[in-house]
Amino acid sequence: MDLFKSLIVILLSSVLVNNYVLARFLGICPFLGVSKKLDQASGMGIAVTAVMLLATAVTWPIQYWVLEPLNLGYLQTIVFILVIASLVQVVELLLKKFIPALHKGLGVYLPLITTNCAVLGVAINNVTDGYTFIQSMVSSLGVGLGFLLAMVLFSGLRSRIDETGIPKPFRGLAVTLIAASFISLAFMGFAGIVDALFA
């Protein structure tokens, strides 16, 4: 029961309170870059969630079964980024070969994810926070869903911004960032809600 409760807390807090994009500033590039249209935003969000789950499933065993027994903890960054990059490549090849329909939908987002700091960040954070394997997977799922939520919300907001008259210096990225700041402000309201629910 305690395990279940801790999993729920991890899931909710990584979706809402510690939202990677809006509260921890990881994965900002795709958040600003691919959030113009709803279908692209949701495609990117789903692809990121899938890659995060895969990356965690691979990097957690590597950290605890390979790097730590061999005292190679300092190689964490290099090993993780290489594993994630090659994983993304392999997934892309497999999707292309066996499920071309899915590749058409999601495949285009995969190369962008290789150097997405949210993916490397979630792999490193799971180790830093000392999560077990199951907790790590749930936390990755939560982070991915949180990313998807932020992308979808933001793409809706952006399509409205594009239709309004904006002073010239603010056009493009400046107004996008300011809009993102308001969404982030709204998400601050979630802080404390998860602790309060289970206190």
Binding site: L26, G27, C29, T77, L82, S86, T115, L177, A180, M188
Partner: protein, 236 residues
């Protein structure tokens, strides 16, 4: 002539092609580590060291690295230097190590470093690449410090950890929290646009312009708009 050229390589990173405010690269550490000046300065210097070293090594290896696998090679070089910097900071500056946390290893995937490797170091001589690294690193550090100064002075009523009692009653706490980062960044970008109007290279409408992934980003966007194009734009 060549002297002028070198100066312009060094100086363009500071305002005209400022990586943070004009090229819009490396947004994640910019937003995350600018809650106080000390952290921002540390982050800037750490990234600058990695940038100079990786630029030089990649420039040295530019004739050895095969075209097709250059991105993985660049990432390995960068990750190696990041690990070195991370160990040095952990050993000699433990408070900074604590402050930067996960953002220190994440320098590996900072678009500025990979972007400069792809755009500059892979095509230019070692000396020029080193200069480019210094210029871009300085631009990054200055932009980070400027943002951190605004956020810390107005948001926490202190500068580099030293309290400013006169501002204490007027501090706007939200500026040191997450939304404040994006707000200040957005306002600064608009300000730089006004200052450099007409001189700065035209900003792309999305953030990752210049990052090696940008072309994939682009292709991701165009492919959906135009499925006929999908097959021709494969990942290299």
């Amino acid at each position: 002539m060549s002297k002028n050229n070198n100066w312009s390589i060094l100086l363009k990173g500071i305002l005209k092609e400022n990586p943070v405010l004009v090229l819009i690269l490396g947004t994640c550490p910019t937003l995350a580590t600018t809650t106080n000046v000390a952290g921002a300065f540390g982050m800037g210097i750490a990234a600058m060291v990695v940038l100079i070293c990786s630029n030089m090594l990649i420039s040295l290896l530019r004739k050895v690295i095969p075209e097709n696998v250059r991105i993985p090679c660049y990432i390995v070089v960068i990750a190696g230097f990041v690990t070195i910097v991370q160990m040095i900071v952990q050993a000699y500056l433990p408070p900074l190590y604590e402050m930067l946390g996960v953002y220190l290893p994440l320098i590996t995937v900072n678009c500025i470093i990979l972007g400069r490797a792809e755009m500059f170091a892979g095509k230019n001589s070692v000396g020029k690449s080193a200069l480019d690294g210094v210029g871009m690193g300085l631009g990054f550090t200055l932009a980070l410090c400027a943002m951190a100064t605004i956020r810390e002075v107005l948001g926490a009523a202190s500068f580099a950890g030293i309290a400013i009692p006169a501002l204490e009653p007027y501090k706007i706490e939200v500026l040191v929290k997450a939304p404040g980062g994006m707000l200040v960044y957005g306002l600064l970008i608009a300000l730089v646009f006004v200052i450099t109007q007409g001189k700065a290279p035209l900003k792309k409408s999305f953030s990752c312009a210049g990052c090696p992934n940008a072309k994939h980003c682009h292709s991701a966007c165009t492919e959906i708009a135009d499925p006929a194009n999908a097959e021709t734009k494969e990942v290299q």
